[in-house]
């Protein structure tokens, strides 16, 4: 176990010191462009998911059916997540060693994993019956809990992303 942990750090050390990663960190324009895109794409991804969470929690768009919000939000949110993921991966590779050993990064990754589980539960447990509970507008407590967790955890992810910079 310890051996595996050491080798991941070593791998990250190697990645950070490749010519590619060093060149990326030294790029005047490309680095800030990737950095800025990572942040701006949060509005497409997390921003739109929060709108759906708001609707499920009845904090916003109370007259709009959940399905309607969901179907309008997803075609933008999914490419948004793809952009955040790709730019985030690039930023990670450029600073792999310092990021991997960063506590906030680890909290952020753990929280992202839990958000994935959270979304999967919604997808498999509540989405199939969405039409039924939407008809009566009685959102199941479980679905509301999922929306609340999503709302809270995304805030944690963003806060950790910001705090990472103060530890690196």
């Amino acid at each position: 176990m310890l051996l595996a942990a050491i080798s991941i750090v070593e791998l990250c050390h190697w990645i950070q010191h490749t010519a590619w990663a060093t060149g990326f960190r030294q790029a005047d324009l490309f680095f800030p462009l990737v950095e800025g895109t990572h942040i701006l794409a949060l509005s497409l991804s997390v921003g739109l998911i929060l709108m759906l969470d708001f609707r499920i929690l009845r904090l916003g768009f109370p007259t709009e059916p959940v399905t309607r919000i969901m179907h309008q939000v997803m075609p933008w949110a999914l490419p948004g997540f793809a952009i955040v993921f790709v730019t985030g991966t690039l930023l990670f590779l450029a600073q792999a060693e310092s990021v991997y050993t960063n506590t906030y990064f680890r909290v952020k990754m753990l929280t992202l994993f839990l958000l994935g589980v959270n979304a999967a539960v919604f997808q498999f447990k509540y989405y199939p019956s969405l039409a039924e509970w939407e008809a009566t507008d009685a959102v199941p407590t479980g679905a509301r809990a999922i929306a609340a967790v999503s709302l809270a955890f995304w805030l944690v992810v963003i806060a950790c992303g910001r705090l990472m910079a103060y530890e690196l």
Partner: protein
């Protein structure tokens, strides 16, 4: 329990040294300290450039003795002030004026300017000392 978590959170926040892309909130911007010594590492990179500087025990200001991580800006910001990837290299002598961390413990500081061998100042960004024109040193 909650109090313990809060205490843990605060101590974690305080313990960390400097680095990636962040504001200047953790630096004492009103303090200009002179760090003079040998460059151990000159990291010309984004999001922040770093100069790792070793200040000897016999320094004019004894409180600066030790190894410091003096942090600059992004390469594009420093490039506009005349910095390049070869401004310093390991082994060079350097005189850096910087704002130390507020915690007074972490050996990190925010670069203000370097005094080059010819006496000219190489500023980190558009900030200038108060009363010398240009933008104020308060960022």
């Amino acid at each position: 329990m909650k109090l313990k978590l809060l205490a843990l959170g605060i101590s974690l926040l305080c313990a960390f040294p400097v680095i990636a892309h962040h504001s200047f909130a953790m630096f004492e911007l009103t303090k200009d300290v002179t760090y003079e010594g040998t460059v151990l590492e000159y990291r010309w990179e984004n999001p922040h450039t770093h100069i790792i500087l070793k200040v000897d025990e016999g320094a004019a200001d004894p409180s600066t003795a030790g190894t410091w991580d003096i942090e600059g800006g992004a390469t594009s910001i420093m490039g506009r002030q005349g910095w390049t990837r070869s401004t310093f290299k390991a082994g060079d002598h350097a005189k850096l004026i910087a704002h130390p961390m507020k915690d007074g413990v972490t050996k990190g500081a925010s670069l203000f300017y370097a005094v080059m061998p010819d006496g000219k100042r190489l500023y980190h960004d558009i900030a200038r000392p108060k009363g010398e024109g240009g933008a104020s040193s308060t960022k």
